[in-house]
């Protein structure tokens, strides 16, 4: 679903402003970004630079104050909440820093969540869940609750949940931020494999240069603006 020029993500002159009382805080200013299909993009920047806000705009979790966000030709900033939710279900896979698994559901039930919005039968959903868990190497922990899984296993469950619907775009917000180096490396290797072997387009927010080194391109966000050069 890439656009004619090959960019899957097309962000043009996006501004994002938050209001805190009488004060206006400009998070993103006149920001432009294009991400081609199949790219593994690392988005770096200091805390409070707006990385997560940008990721939320790309994922349709938030709306820009002005400017346009087009993903694969869909102007998501123009969509109603209802259409946007359906669009997210179809096109976006999200991986969070703190995994955000539902503690009352087993790993396989967590992975199944996005499939509940599809018309798939129970057996079809089970097959998809098994496939996703097998990609992340967690089939043997399918029946376990999150509290009995290690951090790395929880994150792999989160990735399985993100890919189970075969989304167009995978958005990862500090996916290794809560993990030790070894587990972090395993998660990065998994993301890299998803990009290389399965052709997934990935945008990953990270603080960690070690993580960004796994990406095919790194961009830096500072004071609301993007640059391909690391700021001083």
């Amino acid at each position: 679903m890439s656009e004619r020029n090959g960019a899957l993500v097309h962000i043009e002159r996006v501004n994002k402003t938050f209001r805190r009382g009488a004060e206006e805080i400009h998070i993103l200013s006149q920001l432009n970004l294009e991400v081609p299909q199949g790219e593994f993009l690392a988005l770096m920047g200091p805390s409070g630079s707006g990385k997560t806000t940008l990721l939320n705009l790309i994922g349709g979790l938030d709306r820009p104050t002005s400017g346009s966000v087009r993903i694969g030709g869909d102007s998501i900033d123009q969509m109603s909440n209802r259409r946007l939710a359906a669009w997210r279900a179809r096109h976006i896979g999200l991986v969070f820093q703190f995994y955000n698994l539902l503690p009352v559901l087993t790993a396989e039930r967590n992975v199944e969540l996005p499939l509940l919005l599809t018309g798939l039968s129970s057996s079809q959903r089970r097959r998809h869940v098994e496939a996703a868990l097998s990609v992340v190497g967690l089939t043997h922990r399918a029946k376990h609750y999150p509290r009995t899984l290690s951090g790395g296993e929880q994150q792999r469950t989160g990735i399985a949940r993100a890919i189970v619907t075969d989304p167009t775009l995978l958005l990862c917000d500090e996916p290794t931020g809560d993990l030790d180096r070894k587990s972090g490396d395993e998660i990065l290797a998994l993301l890299q494999a998803l990009n290389r072997e399965h052709g997934k387009t990935i945008i990953m927010v990270t603080h960690d240069p070690h993580a960004s080194a796994r990406a095919t391109r790194t961009v830096y966000l500072d004071k609301g603006r993007l640059s391909s050069e690391k700021p001083e």
């Binding site: 806000t53 939320n56 994922g59 979790l61 938030d62 909440n81 209802r82 939710a85 359906a86 997210r88 279900a89 179809r90 976006i92 999200l94 969070f96 703190f98 995994y99 955000n100 698994l101 539902l102 503690p103 009352v104 559901l105 039930r109 199944e112 969540l113 996005p114 509940l116 919005l117 949940r161």
Partner: protein, 385 residues
């Protein structure tokens, strides 16, 4: 696992809190069921009262007697098809005051003709007509004392002592059932001729009359005509429809319906607060999870539905089992048959109860569901699961 699986999993998150809330709802609906049965017990006479029947009593008080000769005179009043007298006998079994029940002498054929809600098999009716000391008892009363047909039952009466100075001897010749669910089957009826012959005083006097009219629409006019017939006599009468008479009896206790509604309103308001607080807490604790659901594509409507469904499942589990328990309890019969002979949970009260379960579920879950629905996904995700 579709939505319901997710709802059930969420309810299991804080098992103790969910269980205690369900228990509160359970108790409230048991109370609802029992109070409805109690209301039915008090008002059963009103409900099953014949529209075509009047009660005629002494103008001053029910406890003052009327002559037995009034019966044929009432039957001469235009619009009256039959008149039947009753007298409160106040029978006591085995000289135990707690073994007290409604005991009345009647004229058998006329009694069964005027009160078709008392169903007596023909063979038993035939024997009752033959045996002067024969008595028929309601099914509830027979079961209470384990009486069977042929049993001899001695009763004493503080109002009507036997002229011999001993107990009144009766033989059970029939057991009647109620034609309707609300029919009182705790009565003991025996023959008036046996009573009048055996009593030590008051011969020829009876307690009150039941009068059947030809046209229920003219019942009030017939009642006025009966009262006019006996005006300025030593025994003036007061005639009124059977339903109004029963209603007046109930109102001696107070306005039962209003009292019950007041109690239930207080109970349900409290339960609404309990269930509403539980749901609000449950949603507040799950802010990030609601964010995750929205992030993976659950729309606002679906999130609203999930929270409402959770509230409904919780109230239904507590409320319906509570109604079921109340129904089971009342199905065993009256715990105090002497005081409340009719005691059951009416079907319409069950239907109202189910409606209240649904209303409680929606009311308790609505505000938390709306707040979950309106929660911006990016804001919700800032909280950790």
């Amino acid at each position: 696992m579709r939505g319901l699986g997710l709802v059930l999993s969420n309810l299991k998150r804080r098992k103790l809190r969910t269980a205690l809330t369900m228990l509160c709802i359970f108790v409230a609906f048991v109370l609802f069921g029992l109070l409805c049965a109690l209301k039915e017990a008090f008002t059963a006479g009103v409900t099953v009262a014949g529209a075509d029947r009047l009660i005629v009593r002494h103008k001053v008080s029910l406890i003052m007697l009327l002559p037995v000769t009034y019966g044929p005179r009432m039957e001469q009043v235009p619009g009256v098809s039959a008149a039947m007298h009753f007298t409160w006998f106040n029978g006591i079994y085995q000289n135990e005051p707690k073994n007290f029940f409604a005991t009345m002498p009647v004229t058998p054929e006329r009694f069964l003709d005027m009160y078709p809600e008392y169903v007596l098999p023909d063979d038993q009716k035939k024997i009752w007509l033959e045996k002067r000391a024969g008595a028929i008892v309601g099914r509830t009363l027979a079961e209470r004392f384990n009486w069977k047909i042929g049993d001899r039952v001695p009763l004493t009466s503080p109002i009507w002592p036997h002229k011999s100075g001993g107990a009144w001897e009766f033989e059970i010749v029939g057991v009647y059932d109620g034609a309707e669910k609300g029919t009182d089957t705790s009565g003991f009826y025996f023959r008036y001729d046996y009573f009048d012959e055996g009593r030590a005083q008051g011969e020829g006097m009876v307690g009150w009359y039941g009068v059947r009219v030809n046209d229920p629409d003219h019942a009030d006019a017939v009642a006025r005509a009966i009262d006019a017939e006996f005006a300025n006599s030593p025994y003036e009468t007061k005639a009124e429809p059977e339903g109004a008479f029963a209603q007046g009896f109930v109102q001696q206790i107070g306005n039962v319906s209003t009292m019950l509604i007041a109690i239930l309103s207080a109970v349900f308001f409290t339960i609404l607060l309990v269930a509403g607080t539980t749901m609000a807490q449950a949603v507040r604790e799950r802010t990030a999870e609601i964010g995750v659901l929205k992030a993976v594509g659950f729309g606002n409507g679906r999130v609203l539905g999930l929270v409402l469904a959770e509230s409904l499942v919780m109230t239904a589990a507590g409320g319906l089992t509570g109604l079921g328990a109340a129904w089971l309890f009342t199905a065993q019969g009256s715990p105090v048959p002497a005081m409340l002979p009719v005691f059951y949970l009416p079907t319409d009260a069950l239907i109202v109860g189910v409606g209240m379960v649904l209303a409680l579920g929606i009311a308790a879950g609505l505000l938390p569901a709306l707040s979950a629905m309106r929660l911006p996904v990016a804001v919700a995700l800032r909280k950790h699961v």
